[in-house]
């Protein structure tokens, strides 16, 4: 493990994932692994799970990881603060999370005065919470923020200590089976369809020396995304294994994430406009500060462009991006 080995072995890539346990949204890597897409490309990919996207960004910036997976905002923030990271792709460019509440909360406006669970102020789930509140005409001042770390997020919800939580789709579904009184208040992708969610990012210096590997990696990932859409039967067990949820839950999540919303991109998944809007949104919310950042500097579309060109772009479905 570690950067030394990565340098000595040209075809090995260390990838950092932003959640303690791999989520459905990050399962594209598991699919690529299981289906041998990485091997076909001549890559050995090793994944490591981290506490948050912030840790992954630090790992990439410090040279201990080759490729990082994280939601958009830590990457944008790091870039703004001179952290020197570049986005090269997306695992899911659309939001794959949901706000889960007790059933008596029927619309976001009902959250007024309630205890709302967030993990850390300025981190992904808190930003999502604010977006939900905004959609109901509320601000964070209209509710009580309650800090809940990732381990006790769901238990706090079940226990009634908090009345709203942002969960991954599969977690949201599972929570509903655990407690019939819970329901999905809103899928975030519905509220803010033009928010850029998940990114793969690297450090520019790594990219300079490993451009071929970046292309190979993104090729395999894109293949995985496409495979997931085409083959639910094979996808569900792989995802169930990597996330630890049962196949029934995963199958339901598959329907939401892939059938209905199509959160995994099949082409480059790096829409300039979406990213610009995300940056603006973050600035407006005050979670992105510091110097101006330009999408053109934050993103390097070269490798994904090469990958998609090799594979041939997909079109014909409104989900294909």
């Amino acid at each position: 493990e570690g950067p030394q080995e990565a340098e000595s072995n040209d075809n090995e890539i260390q990838v950092g994932l932003p959640t303690g346990k791999t989520s459905f949204a990050n399962s594209d890597i598991a699919v690529a692994q299981e289906k041998g897409f990485f091997k076909e490309a001549g890559l050995t990919v090793k994944t490591t799970n981290f506490r948050s996207g912030v840790s992954v960004v630090q790992g990439v910036a410090g040279g201990n990881l080759d490729v990082g997976a994280s939601s958009f905002e830590p990457v944008a923030n790091a870039h703004a603060r001179g952290g020197d990271v570049k986005i090269i792709g997306s695992y899911t460019d659309l939001l794959a999370v949901a706000a889960v509440t007790p059933k008596d909360v029927t619309k976001p406006a009902d959250l007024r005065g309630k205890n709302v669970g967030v993990q850390e102020v300025g981190a992904f789930r808190e930003i999502m919470t604010r977006i939900v509140l905004e959609s109901g005409g509320l601000t964070q001042r209209d509710v009580n923020y309650v800090p809940v770390d990732s381990q006790s997020y769901i238990s706090s919800l079940l226990q009634g200590k908090i009345e709203s939580a942002i969960l991954q789709t599969e977690q949201a579904l599972s929570a509903q089976t655990e407690d019939k009184n819970l329901h999905v208040l809103e899928n975030l992708n519905k509220i803010t369809p033009n928010y850029h969610y998940g990114t793969y990012f690297v450090s520019p210096s790594w990219l300079e020396n490993n451009r071929k590997n970046a292309v190979k990696f993104l090729t395999a990932i894109t293949k995985a995304h496409r495979f997931m859409y085409e083959n639910k039967e094979e996808t569900v067990p792989i995802v169930a294994k990597s996330t630890g949820f049962d196949e029934k839950t995963i199958s339901a999540a598959y329907d939401v994430m892939l059938e209905q919303q199509g959160v995994f991109p099949v082409n480059d998944g790096l829409d300039d406009k979406r990213m610009r809007q995300t940056i603006e949104k973050l600035r407006k919310m005050g979670v992105l500060t510091g110097p101006e950042i330009k999408v053109s500097e934050l993103v390097d579309k070269g490798p994904i462009g090469d990958a998609v060109r090799d594979l041939g772009p997909w079109d014909g479905d409104k989900r294909w991006r």
Binding site: E1, G2, P3, G16, T19, G20, K21, T48, N49, F50, R51, S55, Q58, G59, G62, N64, L65, S150, Q151, S152, I154, S155, L158, Q159, Q171, S174, A175, E178, G244, F245
Partner: protein, 278 residues
């Protein structure tokens, strides 16, 4: 041969035998009574946990029998042994280095005012620095692998050992130092003959504090660098609402704390035979 008592004594006047029991002072409990007390407190706590744990939502808090079942499962499917072995390597290496460094630096700093003055402020500052601040730097220097985790554990272990050792050395009886000096003991010998033995109670206390810190350090390390070992088991199972399984690594850690402390006390009793029992 006992000589006569001057003046005869009424041997039956007082119930001396009966009242001999009341003798107070440092009571020494027999080992079996001690064990009874120990086990009864543990039993009481387990019982309370079982009753309370069953009464509330299982996702919040599990209860001992469920945890025991989960532990059996996790032993059978190999997840627990595997995680344990990962954590133990980190624990062992980190503690070893932390204790060695703490002891060495503590002995020096306790004996030399120069070393103490140089270390004082940085040490106090570093000790009060939350690990969140240090972990990015540790990761930068040592990567995400076992080395970084070992360093985190080491930092957790270091300070109790260092600070207690330092104080132990400073509290050495000045009269005995004078004796050692009068026999022209060189500094090195003095440590072995005098400073170390008399600092032992402090050092043991430092080690005892270090045990708990080391175990928590392993979990923190496994949380904040790359997920692995027992820390990983906690997170993964918590994410899947498997509270009973989540408590297995936690209970394992707690058991380890108890075992290691008992071991430490046993070793101390074996080594420090000269001690009066009161």
């Amino acid at each position: 041969m006992t000589t006569a008592v001057s003046g005869s004594v009424d041997h039956t006047a007082q119930p001396a035998q009966a009242s001999r029991q009341r003798r107070s002072g440092p009571r020494t409990l027999s080992p079996s009574v001690k064990w009874m007390l120990r086990l009864s407190s543990v039993a009481a706590i387990l019982l309370a946990w079982e009753i309370y744990g069953r009464s509330i939502n299982p996702i919040l808090l599990s209860y001992p029998t469920a945890v025991a079942n989960a532990a059996a499962d996790m032993m059978a499917d190999g997840t627990l042994p595997q995680a344990l072995s990962e954590s133990l390597v980190v624990l062992g290496m980190g503690s070893l280095i932390g204790v060695s460094v703490g002891l060495t630096v503590g002995l020096f700093a306790g004996r030399s005012q120069i070393v103490a003055a140089l270390l004082e402020l940085p040490m106090n500052a570093l000790y009060a620095t939350p690990s969140v601040a240090l972990i990015p730097v540790i990761v930068l220097w040592f990567g995400f692998g076992p080395t970084a985790k070992t360093v985190v554990v080491m930092l957790f272990v270091l300070f109790p050992v260092l600070i207690n050792t330092m104080r132990g050395v400073q509290e050495v009886d000045a009269a005995l130092i004078e004796v050692a000096r009068s026999f022209c003991s060189r500094e090195r010998r003095m440590w072995r003959d005098l400073i170390f033995p008399s600092a032992v109670p402090y050092i043991v206390t430092g080690l005892r504090l270090a045990i708990g810190r080391a175990l928590i350090g392993v979990i923190v390390a496994e949380f904040f660098t790359a997920f692995a070992g027992l820390g990983n088991l906690i997170v993964t199972n918590a994410n899947q609402f498997r509270t009973d399984r989540m408590f297995v690594p936690i209970v394992v850690i707690a058991l380890f704390g108890v075992l290691l402390t008992a071991l430490l006390e046993w070793v101390e009793r074996r080594i420090v035979r000269w001690h009066g029992d009161g």
